[in-house]
């Protein structure tokens, strides 16, 4: 049977001493709610960050790198050139396939001073990466991604991944698979012409 009891007129046997009314927004409660809001915000932002993918537009994240030959430079120093930024690793089979294409495309532009190719070895800078470069006769700028910081900035999910950056330092294309020589030449030429027109 439904009991219809009204608290104020039927004090239950288990009600204890005098019911003290406390302020709802006591310092403790406010602190608790603020703490929860902060925790929620942090986790929410973390979730948003996790879901971030590789950038497909906007300014290319800058980074500093020391190549396998000991040369140091920054990406921003290459502004004014069209940059082909390729992430690779010696333990990655598709990277073997595209290495020749990348080198051939580089050689196509080697004489000019408005195109640069940069290779970033992702989680890879032992003897096998150097061996990889020698095997494919790679001559363009290539260096290890120390502490995987660069890959982190570009939200790399795997290798190979290639970014084409235009003369203003903005990302023009992101290619999530292996690249071919023709594909690269086509994309780079398009950006070179663009530069001339503007």
């Amino acid at each position: 049977m439904t009991e219809i009891t009204l608290e104020s007129t039927h004090p239950h046997a288990e009600d204890g001493p005098q019911q003290q009314k406390k302020k709802f927004l006591s310092p403790g409660t406010i602190f608790l709610i603020i703490a929860m809001l902060v925790a929620g915000a942090i986790i929410g932002i973390a979730l948003a960050n996790q879901n971030q993918t590789q950038p497909t537009g906007g300014p290319a994240p800058d980074f500093a790198m020391t190549t396998f030959d000991g040369q140091s430079f920054k990406l921003s120093e290459l502004q004014g050139k069209v940059v082909v930024l390729n992430f690779w690793a010696s333990w990655c089979a598709p990277c073997e396939d595209e290495a020749a294409d990348l080198q051939a495309a580089w050689e196509h532009y080697e004489g000019r001073d408005d195109v640069a190719f940069v290779g970033v070895a992702y989680a890879d800078n032992g003897p096998r990466s150097i061996e990889f470069l020698e095997r494919h006769g790679v001559t363009y700028l290539n260096g290890p991604d120390r502490g995987t910081a660069i890959s982190h900035d570009y939200n790399i999910q795997g290798v190979p991944e290639t970014f084409i950056i235009d003369k203003n330092g903005d990302i023009s294309r992101f290619i999530y698979s292996t690249v071919t020589e023709d594909q690269l030449i086509e994309l780079v030429d398009a950006l070179l012409i663009e530069g001339v027109e503007s």
Binding site: E7, E14, Q19, Q20, K23, F24, I33, A46, Q50
Partner: protein, 697 residues
């Protein structure tokens, strides 16, 4: 056809559950019994409809309806039928539906069993349960629909959709069957059949105590009614969660091939967090039942337990942190986050509101530092400390480091081994002392007197271990603390049995059974504590004294590890199993102190049709009470019939971890032993006849 039935049932279930919320709340506010009953029936109807949907998906799996995209993604024609059943929870969409199904089953159970005894709480409780169900049904219907089907659009593109897009056609059965993906190899193991269901039962079970707690806040009935209503459910949920965790460890041990059973991976830890909260809750509510104290804190604990359940499932399914258990990143991350956050915030605000109304006053105060209620406060503190440490290591630190320091870090076993053992040791110590302390007040001398016999037994045990050759200080201290708790539990049972024999002249067996019948919670609790002690012994042994070694052997060659010898006898490559996997099996003989004791067959399974996860290492193990002799066929070098690399682990006492789990089950079942029905008078509650009995025991 089957997909349409399933989809329609889900959609109707969503409508029914929304209706149920509205009618339960409105009916209760307006005191309209008919409306409330309508809401109750709608909740039961929701259960029936979700059951139909789940059965529909299961039938689709068994009948191999590959045009249902879920069936296509988790099964293929070559799969043995056993796995067609477990494929129901093999991937995101199916496991969400399974989760929802378990939830509505619990809801129906709570309604059917508790409606009359807790009538005042039930309408709001039902509304809360349905609110959670609505969210998960919406997730299933709009974001991860298990009844999506493959269609070929007029322009040739292939899409998955629940309803037929304009002008689309079904792909042919043959094409679907040949491209079907099949179940992830890691899930093709018997353990996978049990681990998710157990875990879901544990997680979802905590919905009921939460709903009753919220109903208490909403209705204003803040006596112990909500605790009594949810007591049984909380215990059931706790048991399944414990089993789910233990079975998960067992599955990892058997299948993942790294010689251990708990990796402190963020997703594992996420499932451990509700267990910590839930255990704290189970203990803490006893204080409110016996002495009417800690009312606000108990409410907070039940909210936190369910909140961590939702957080656990959110963290697992959204890829919040890097983990080996990650599902593929999907779109349900944000909706789950908002649901978790909103639900927790609203519950806490409701709690604070009631508190400010003065409805959650303590009936008594603490008297004495060694009283049982004070020790329970210490118990709560330790569980909260563990919770914070585990949460920080799995989520807090990596997330903060990424956001504020822009550095990606991993907190692995090292971190957890530096922080948790102290807290676990304190808990075991408490487990040895608290059962002997009395409610209200206990003097130190009194407590000391009760401890004399258990301490003597513990010292005897420690001397026994030392005589067996144990000389590591850490191990000796650890085993001493853990055995104390075990001896206290056993001694209390013994004392109870002896007292009964003396007063009733019963034989020991009936004395024991009657003892349990008289006070199931107490003696069930002792048995559960004993189970935890056994698990603790197993964990200490297999963690502190694990030995490993790796060597490449030729056929006929042996390797030595400890006092064992392992001889490589034979290699059988290319064995094809029923589900299409190719197995390379090595056969070895385990020789202990010169005598062959067992043969083991570790193997590597290769799944030709899978693109990502296509090899599995299955260990061969020789299990005894003393240890597990655990051998892996490792793929460091090319395995040929001459050379194979083996990694060997000796895990002492690890089987106690699994058997301790069985003792946990026994203890929980003891706690459910039905009490004899007292023939009471019809007019008043029995408590009022014997006032002196109230508040004790």
């Amino acid at each position: 056809m089957i997909a349409e039935i399933g989809f329609a049932s889900l959609a109707l279930a969503l409508l029914a559950s929304i209706y149920s919320i509205i009618t339960c709340v409105a009916g209760e506010i307006r005191r309209n019994e008919r409306v409330v009953l309508s809401g109750r029936n709608a909740a039961l109807l929701t259960t029936a409809l979700v059951t139909i949907a789940t059965v529909a998906l299961q039938v689709a799996l068994i009948q191999q309806e590959y045009h249902v995209s879920y069936v296509w993604s988790v099964s293929n024609p070559a799969m043995p039928s056993f796995f067609r059943w477990t494929a129901l929870w093999g991937s995101q969409a199916g496991s969400l539906l399974f989760w929802t199904w378990v939830m509505v089953l619990f809801t129906a159970g709570a309604i059917l069993l508790n409606w009359r005894t807790h009538r005042r709480l039930m309408p709001y409780a039902t509304a809360y349960m349905m609110a959670v169900v609505v969210f998960f049904l919406a997730l299933s219907l709009f974001l991860e629909n298990p009844f999506d089907r493959w269609w070929i659009l007029p322009d040739g593109e292939v899409v998955a959709n629940a309803l037929i897009p304009a002008g689309a056609q079904s792909p042919t059965d043959a094409r679907l069957a040949e491209t079907a993906r099949g179940l992830n190899p890691l899930l093709r193991h018997f353990g996978m059949a049990i681990h998710p269901p157990m875990l879901y039962l544990g997680f979802v079970g905590f919905l009921i105590p939460f709903a009753f707690g919220m109903a208490a806040l909403a209705s204003g009935d803040l006596s112990t009614n909500w605790i009594k209503a949810s007591r049984g459910w909380a215990l059931v949920a706790w048991l399944f969660l414990s089993l789910g965790l233990i079975l998960g460890g067992r599955w990892a041990y058997d299948v993942l091939g790294w010689g251990g059973y708990w990796g402190w991976d963020p997703v594992e830890n996420a499932a451990f967090l509700p267990w910590l909260m839930g255990t704290a809750y189970l203990h803490s509510v006893m204080i409110q039942e016996k002495r009417g104290m800690l009312k606000t804190w108990n409410m907070f604990l039940v909210i936190a337990t369910f909140s961590s359940v939702i957080f656990a499932t959110f963290a697992t399914r959204s890829g919040l942190v890097e983990s080996v258990h990650s599902f593929a990143r999907s779109e349900i991350g944000f909706p789950m986050f908002f649901f978790w956050f909103t639900m927790t915030l609203i519950s806490v605000v409701l709690l604070m509101w009631r508190r400010s109304q003065g409805k959650l006053q303590d009936d008594h105060k603490f008297n004495n530092l060694l009283s049982r209620e004070s020790l329970f406060v210490l118990n709560n503190f330790l569980f909260m400390a563990l919770f914070c440490v585990v949460f920080w290591g799995s989520f807090g630190a990596p997330i903060s480091s990424e956001l504020f320091l822009d550095t990606n870090i991993t907190l692995g076993t090292d971190y957890f081994m530096q922080t948790t053992p102290w807290l676990f040791a304190a808990l075991y110590l408490l487990m040895g002392v608290a059962p002997l302390s009395a409610w209200t007040s206990t003097s130190a001398s009194r407590l000391g007197r009760s401890l004399i016999v258990p301490i003597i037994l513990t010292i005897a045990t420690t001397l026994f271990f030392i005589a067996q050759g144990m000389d590591t200080t850490v191990a000796i201290v650890a085993y001493t603390i853990v055995s104390l708790a075990g001896w206290v539990a056993l001694y209390e049972i013994y004392r109870g049995v002896v007292a009964r024999i003396r007063t009733h002249r019963e034989n020991p067996i009936s004395a024991l059974l009657n003892l349990i019948q008289r006070n199931p919670r107490r003696y069930g609790g002792y048995m559960v504590h004993f189970g935890v002690v056994v698990i603790g012994i197993g964990v200490i042994g297999s963690t502190l004294f694990q030995v490993e070694s790796q060597r490449t052997l030729q056929i006929g060659e042996s390797m030595t590890i400890d006092n064992y010898e392992l001889r490589y006898d034979n290699f059988r490559p290319g064995q094809i199993s029923q589900d299409g996997r190719i197995m390379d099996i090595a056969e070895l003989t385990v020789i202990k102190d010169g005598t062959p004791v067992a043969t083991v067959s570790p193997r590597r399974d290769f799944f030709p049709e899978n693109t990502d996860m296509n090899t599995m290492t299955i260990a061969g193990a020789h299990s005894t009470l003393e240890n597990d002799f655990y051998v892996l066929l490792v793929g460091w070098e090319e395995i040929s019939s001459n050379n194979a690399t083996f990694k060997v682990y000796i895990n002492p006492l690890v089987n106690l971890v699994w058997w301790g789990g069985l003792i946990l089950i026994l203890g929980t079942m003891m706690a459910f032993y039905p009490k004899p029905v007292l023939r009471s008078s019809t007019a008043t509650e029995p408590q009022q006849l014997i006032p002196a009995m109230k508040g004790s025991v």
